[in-house]
């Protein structure tokens, strides 16, 4: 009996304008989205690949440890065309060096003029908004329309319980949504797979499947809401208005209002305030360095005896690279390095702490917005999908945390090689064995320029690159599939619960409803 009703409802829906228009709309939107976002992904992946090789090449050229500065890149998430989440909002690379601590920074946002409508047309957004609307439009007259036409009373004059009718209507309706959803996703998947750079691993298929499943749960929840409204209102035009009101309120307004409210409840300083505070810190750093310099005056530099020199400032002993210099100069630089680099790193840590505060306040705010948004099934749905796609905020924040860990690993590595606060940081020469300026003057006087030149050497070109084969690689372990699925569980769970709640509610309402026209 249930199946008879379901089949009736399904056929009824399939023969309507609604379904046809919905199908066309789905095909257009899904393929549009897939085409645009695939190209976008291809571009981002290409940029990522070129950035990675560019950065790798730079590191390999390091001749002294001061040159080790790595930029780590974040690989674009494969499923970002499905659910964009925070993907584009965060930077795709982070600079890692001794004195730069990677922190959250914003991405180069799409400078697309007049992105006035959907900020993203990823698949999940289309499902959330357009298919959500369709689900409501299929269900708003499932009871009130049948009641008006007298068909409901007719059905119930047979040997069928109200619960069965309810279940039948529900099944028929959701089965109508199913082809729209599946066809849409299939079309999109087809378009993705035609791209040469996109290849799905088993875990990607798994997550795509999970996203499809959650989409169905979401659409089912909305369908049930439409059914409840249909049962409770007297005529179908009233149901329609109420259903559209619900859609506007819960799918469009509340998810966004939640973000606004969160901004109010947990206001954060703008990032540039943190920037300004950092600048204060740097000023302190410079003062200290200046003070140190005043206590440790610079020995006389004879330029003819100095080769391949690059420093932060001629007046302070903070070297970057020095190929050759007389011993007293080198010692001055070395002692200076030990002070300045250490200070710089300390201040970098302090600055890093400031930014981490900023980061965690952002995370707090985002969390509050997410909690408030749980009022809306649409937001629950999107958040769950973002987790599945690997584009939720905590996954992206992990990139920066990983970058910070990598920095620590790098520093540890350099320290082990005794390359940090030592001569190896900035010069290949053995400082203790270097001649002084006086020595070199003597040599020049006695044996001439050629002798001096042979002592000094030919320059950086003759220095080979460091052997960095055992340097730790940037290889952040991707999150395990199981853990990721787990993280989406709360939101998905609430959606399932809502389904049950709504179904029970519909049942209760229907049991007491008046089925006469």
């Amino acid at each position: 009996m249930i199946w008879t009703i379901a089949r009736k409802q399904l056929l009824n829906n399939l023969l309507t304008y609604k379904f046809l228009v919905g199908l066309v709309l789905c095909l257009v939107l899904f393929s549009l989205s897939a085409v645009v976002l695939t190209r976008d992904y291809e571009e981002r992946l290409a940029a990522y690949n070129s950035a990675v090789s560019h950065h790798a090449a730079t590191v390999r050229q390091a001749k002294v440890y001061s040159q080790i500065a790595v930029t780590v890149d974040r690989r674009p998430a494969l499923l970002s065309p499905v659910c964009e989440g925070f993907e584009k909002r965060f930077a795709t690379s982070a600079d890692v060096s001794y004195t730069v601590i990677p922190t959250l920074s914003a991405g180069q946002a799409e400078k697309n003029a007049l992105m006035v409508t959907l900020k993203s047309i990823d698949l999940v957004a289309i499902i959330q908004i357009v298919l959500g609307l369709l689900a409501l439009l299929f269900s708003y007259d499932s009871f009130s329309g049948e009641r008006e036409r007298g068909v409901l009373a007719l059905t119930l004059s047979n040997r069928v319980s109200r619960g069965a009718v309810l279940l039948g209507q529900y099944l028929g309706g959701t089965l109508t949504m199913l082809p729209l959803l599946l066809i849409g996703i299939a079309v999109a998947a087809l378009i993705w797979l035609t791209s040469p750079v996109i290849s799905f691993h088993p875990s990607d298929w798994l997550f795509l499947g999970l996203i499809t499943l959650v989409s169905l749960i979401y659409l089912s929840a909305l369908f049930l809401v439409g059914m409840i409204i249909s049962i409770l209102t007297r005529n179908s035009s009233t149901s329609l208005v109420m259903v559209l009101f619900f859609w506007v309120l819960f799918v469009i307004l509340i998810p966004n209002a939640a973000a606004h409210l969160a901004y109010d409840l947990r206001p954060i300083q703008a990032k540039y305030v943190a920037d300004a505070q950092t600048r204060e810190l740097r000023r302190e750093l410079y003062k200290r360095i200046d003070f140190y310099t005043s206590q440790h005056p610079r020995p006389i530099h004879k330029w003819e005896f100095i080769k391949g020199r690059s420093v932060y400032s001629g007046r302070t002993p903070y070297p970057i690279m020095i190929y050759f210099a007389p011993r007293e100069v080198m010692l001055w630089e070395l002692e200076g390095l030990k002070f300045c680099l250490q200070q710089d790193m300390d201040y970098a840590e302090k600055g890093g702490a400031l930014y981490r505060d900023y980061e965690s306040s952002l995370a707090d705010q985002a969390n509050i917005a997410a909690y408030l948004g749980k009022l809306s099934p649409a937001r629950l749905y999107y958040d769950a999908c973002a987790v599945f796609a690997g584009t939720d905020s905590s996954n992206l924040l992990k990139f920066f945390a990983d970058a910070r860990d990598y920095r620590r690993a790098l520093i540890g590595y350099v320290q082990d090689k005794n390359g940090l606060l030592s001569a190896a940081y900035f010069t290949p020469a053995d400082v203790e064995k270097l001649p002084t300026t006086a020595d070199l003057d003597a040599v020049k006087a006695e044996r001439g320029q050629a002798a001096v030149d042979s002592i000094i050497g030919t320059g950086w070109d003759s220095v080979s690159a460091l052997d960095l084969r055992d340097m730790p690689n940037w290889d952040p372990s991707p999150e395990q599939a199981g853990r990721r699925a787990n993280r989406a569980l709360p939101n998905a769970g609430i959606l399932v619960f809502l389904n049950l709640l709504f179904f029970v509610g519909a049942h209760v309402a229907f049991l007491r409803a008046d089925v006469r026209a």
């Binding site: 304008y17 047309i121 357009v130 703008a270 300004a276 004879k302």
Partner: protein, 467 residues
């Protein structure tokens, strides 16, 4: 006769559920969005003032030794928010709030707050509520205006009297629109009142002028949608078909068309990505730096012995003479690359904008963001002013810092002249008057849509089968 029908429409609508719901939504969300945006504006203003203060101090206390980072030296400038931004926040993406003015370029700085709104639609501001919610409800008010009366039989009852079809159409239009505009105007006024009570000076002439324009354009915008719904209703015979068609129309006009516009522009006029351009600039600059360094070296201006103080002065002067042409070339090269990129990007953006503005939603958004001083032209103005500031700084600061890459030797830096940080110019952004922000074209586009829909509606209703 028109007034009799209009009066009936108004009364009927005021008693309907949809009017009630629309009124509730409007009167809650519009003042709320204005208020929240006002708070955000205040926060941004105070943050920005704080930062500018520290900027000024930093410039004033700039020690010459600190210019060891001068190669990457840059000054941050911030866009001062305008009060009218309570209406339309604009988008960080197209309206940079923070620019970094450096020797070689003006670049985007970090945006305000990452992730404060993970909105699919951005954030809720007044513009959003009107653009999406009101337009939807406008169509909802009118989509069954004719079909419902036809199905009820009242259409025949009306037309059995001496009422011509145009008269009927006008009565429906006037009556329906009044009930639609009422919640908008009321909540707008409530919103302004809320702002006034929160401490904003609403009656300041500039702000008031902008507010008026925003209201006028909003009223025109929803009139277009009301007419579109009426057109659909006059073209089909069942409420059901009218519903499907109206929603399809709404989705197309509001969601698909504007997006399609910028998409088409990207396909038509593709532009190199930022990455590529940045790399181009870098390699051009580096190449010239190398040549410059070599020239200075060849001119023998890197002494092997320690020069005395006055010799050092003369040396610096000669160095800058030799370096000058290279500096110029570097600046030209970068300007050329940037200019080229900017021009192409601007072409693409303009094309996308033009296409998007063909839709009433696009036109309305453009108009409202211009009026709120958060639109494309405001963004352009800010960027242009930043460029000009960079020219000024080039004179006062950047040209005096010279950085040499000497092949085989290393990097060295020097100053060609004294820099007095206290006299460095500050950045000033000129304000635009309200009347100069009026994007007349958008109003024309909205009016055209209105007139076209009106003409089609009257035509459709004249042929309508009322039986």
């Amino acid at each position: 006769m028109i007034w009799i029908i209009a009066q009936k429409e108004i009364r009927d609508n005021l008693l309907s559920l949809r009017f009630l719901l629309l009124f509730l939504l409007a009167v809650v969300f519009i003042p709320a969005s204005l208020y929240t945006n006002y708070r955000a504006y205040q926060a941004r203003l105070s943050d920005q003032q704080q930062v500018e203060k520290s900027n000024r101090e930093y410039l004033r206390n700039l020690q010459v030794t600190q210019i060891f980072t001068a190669a990457n030296f840059a000054i941050d400038i911030y866009w001062p928010p305008s009060p009218a931004s309570v209406f339309a926040e604009g988008f960080e993406d197209i309206h940079p709030r923070h620019l970094v003015v450096g020797k070689n370029s003006v670049e985007y700085g970090a945006p305000l707050a990452v992730g404060s709104s993970m909105g699919l639609f951005g954030s809720i501001d007044y513009l959003f509520v009107v653009e999406f919610v009101f337009s939807l409800f406008a169509i909802l008010m009118s989509f069954d205006a004719i079909t419902r009366e036809k199905e009820n039989g009242t259409l025949r009852s009306i037309l059995a009297n001496a009422v011509s079809r145009p008269v009927l159409a006008t009565g429906k239009l006037v009556g329906g629109y009044v009930t639609l505009a009422l919640p908008l105007v009321v909540s707008f006024l409530v919103g302004l009142l809320t702002l006034q009570l929160s401490g904003m000076s609403v009656f300041e002439p500039e702000f008031l002028a902008r507010a008026e324009w925003v209201l006028v354009s909003s009223l025109l915008y929803i009139a277009v949608f009301f007419l579109l719904g009426l057109l659909v209703s006059s073209s089909v015979s069942s409420t059901y078909a009218a519903l499907v068609l109206s929603l399809a129309v709404w989705l197309t006009v509001v969601l698909v068309l504007p997006r399609a516009g910028s998409l088409a522009a990207q396909l038509w006029r593709p532009v190199k990505s930022d990455q590529v351009v940045w790399l181009e600039k870098l390699s051009a600059a580096n190449a010239i730096e190398m040549e410059k360094g070599k020239a200075v070296q060849d001119a023998g201006l890197f002494p092997k012995t320690n020069p005395s103080a006055e010799e050092w002065g003369k040396l610096q002067k000669r160095r800058s003479e030799v370096a000058a042409p290279f500096e110029d070339r570097a600046v030209q090269a970068i300007r050329r690359i940037e200019g080229d990129y900017r021009r192409r990007k601007a072409e693409q953006v303009d094309l996308g904008l033009t296409l998007a503005r063909l839709s009433p939603a696009g036109a309305f958004v453009n108009f409202a963001t211009e009026m709120s001083d958060t639109g494309i032209r405001a963004a352009d103005r800010f960027t242009n002013d930043a460029e000009q500031y960079r020219e000024v700084l080039q004179q006062e600061l950047f040209s005096k810092i010279l950085r040499y890459v000497i092949p085989g030797v290393g990097i060295t830096m020097g100053l060609t002249g004294p820099i007095n940080p206290a006299t460095l110019s500050e950045f000033r952004l000129a304000r635009v008057r309200a009347r100069d922000s009026v994007a007349g074209v958008d109003i024309a586009i909205l009016l055209s849509w209105f007139l076209a829909a009106a003409v089609l509606t009257y035509g459709a209703l004249a042929r309508y089968d009322v039986r």
